[in-house]
């Protein structure tokens, strides 16, 4: 598979602060990677280096086989900044026509692009009158210009309602199926969980975890929670059967166990038969896994 983005041992310093510490990663064509991290973990710095907006101090970065910021790299990548902004005096259509012209594409595609992000009705209104969600969609529309090979999206779904978010991820699915590599950062972990191939967790400028969600889940080895609802009048006998369980105020018994002990525990619960009214198995959420990895550095 061709590598769209290759970063090896990337280091960036701002005066005495080490913003990125020997970060390495690769992104192949058609793959979607999510970049997670606290504010100040180095996500935006890394994106700006990939885009060629700021220089870096050590390591190597290759964007579509070219140096970041070179004309060849810029013609093949598209960017959506966090809190994207446009000149308020221009209409959505005029702004997109301008961006199309800058990429050497036909400006007539502007309406079609706006229609793809659901903004056709507002195309002739000034961007100054748009809501944040509408500006975000203009930002999305400009990333679709001319089949980019690499998309860099900084918090792309902030300001979008749930339906628009789903539409947005559908657009991304289409692009990645055509071979576009996508690097996005997000705070909404549940949508990242469902819609990306790989998760990268940055903490304090270092890449502390990388892999699919299943990889990370296995590596974190966080306990699984089981919620048991006793049958009416059986709470006392159940509590006796599971002395390690914690009784919640809602009448539920809360058990937790490691991944390997899950099935034996389930067998024990099932053996109780009529004593148990209901059972929920709750695997560790992405939030739990994320906190586990980003806290490892003592943060």
């Amino acid at each position: 598979m061709t590598r769209t983005l290759t970063i090896s041992r990337l280091t960036k310093r701002f005066q005495s602060v080490e913003a990125l510490k020997a970060v390495s990663l690769t992104l192949e064509a058609g793959r979607r990677a999510a970049l997670l991290g606290h504010n100040g973990a180095g996500k935006s710095t890394m994106m700006k280096i990939i885009l060629g907006l700021i220089p870096f101090d050590g390591g190597e970065v290759s964007v579509c086989g070219a140096a970041p910021g070179s004309a060849a790299a810029r013609s093949q990548l598209a960017y959506l900044p966090e809190n994207v902004a446009f000149h308020p005096a221009l209409t959505g259509e005029e702004q997109l026509r301008h961006y199309l012209a800058l990429r050497g594409e036909n400006p007539r595609q502007a309406m079609e692009l706006l229609a793809r992000v659901g903004l056709a009705h507002a195309a002739r209104r000034r961007i100054g009158t748009y809501s944040k969600g509408m500006r975000q969609r203009v930002g999305l529309a400009q990333t679709l210009i001319g089949r980019p090979r690499l998309l860099v999206l900084d918090e792309p779904t902030s300001g979008l309602d749930p339906v628009s978010r789903r539409d947005f991820y559908d657009l991304l699915d289409g692009l990645s199926a055509e071979g576009t590599a996508i690097l996005l950062s997000s705070h909404v972990l549940t949508e990242v969980e469902a819609r990306t191939d790989r998760i990268l967790i940055l903490s304090g400028g270092a890449l502390v975890a990388e892999g699919t969600l299943a990889d990370l889940r296995a590596r974190a080895a966080l306990p699984i929670a089981l919620l048991v609802r006793p049958a009416p009048g059986r709470a006392a006998s159940l509590t006796a059967a599971f002395p390690e369980a914690v009784a919640g105020g809602d009448g539920l018994l809360r058990l937790s166990c490691a991944q390997a002990e899950k099935l034996p525990l389930l067998a024990r619960i099932a053996a109780l038969g009529g004593e148990v009214a209901d059972l929920d198995v709750i695997p560790p959420s992405l939030e739990d896994i994320y906190s586990h990895f980003s806290r490892r550095d003592g943060q």
Binding site: K48, L51, R74, S75, H87, A89, E94, H98, L102, R103
Partner: protein, 273 residues
Amino acid sequence: MSRILATAMCEFRIAFRNRWVTIATGMMVLFALVLSAAGSAPTGDVGVDRLSVTVASLTSLAVYLVPLLALLMSFDAVAGEVERGTLPLLLTYPVSRLQILLGKLIAHLAILALAVALGYGAAALVAVWSDPEAINGLGSLWRLVWTSVLLGATFLGAGYALSVLARRPSGAAGLAIALWLVAVVLYDLALLALIVTDGGGAFTTHALPLALLANPADAFRVFNLSAAQAVAAAGGIGGAAGAIPLWQSAASLLVWPLAAIALAVAAFRKVTP
């Protein structure tokens, strides 16, 4: 080239929406008409046609107004993009910083040319209407138009450079006003003071011509007045114009815009958003 033109179209549209085209044109037409009305009294005995006299007055007007308009249009060019947050996205596009600045320059220069042409045109119409002989002065009017555009380009470039250095529109506006005051007003006052204290000595004969060429606004005035042989009609600093060969003031007018724009581009290249 198409990227420069696309940027220019976009900037022109923004300037039009922000009423800059209207403001610039309105100011030039208004001032030109006021001048030609005020300058209609002393004619006949000067021995030149009516339009040449108008051009001499318009030159004095343009020295102040053209740099002011240019700086007002340009101070926001980069600082405004930084403040709105539009610059990082723009710089990820396959367009060079030189192309971005040239696009803005073409748009602003077109607006300035339009304002100057309409303003001077209105003054010329008044002159020709009251004195058919004035048609002989069209050559000096044309000279005034293109030199005004060159003077404007110099101050547009300087305005972009200030816009890059200040990073914030408020700071850039302050710097632009300061530049205007120094280059257009205080510079001449200082020269006048030196001439008075020197009393026709070495400074007036040797250093003054160089000092006039070193300032684009003075080079503009000297060139137009000496080319029109209207030195007598202008007086003041313009009186020194006769001592400077025409090609030197023309060269100063041509070199300054290039230097100012090169400075702006060099400063813009250093910006990391």
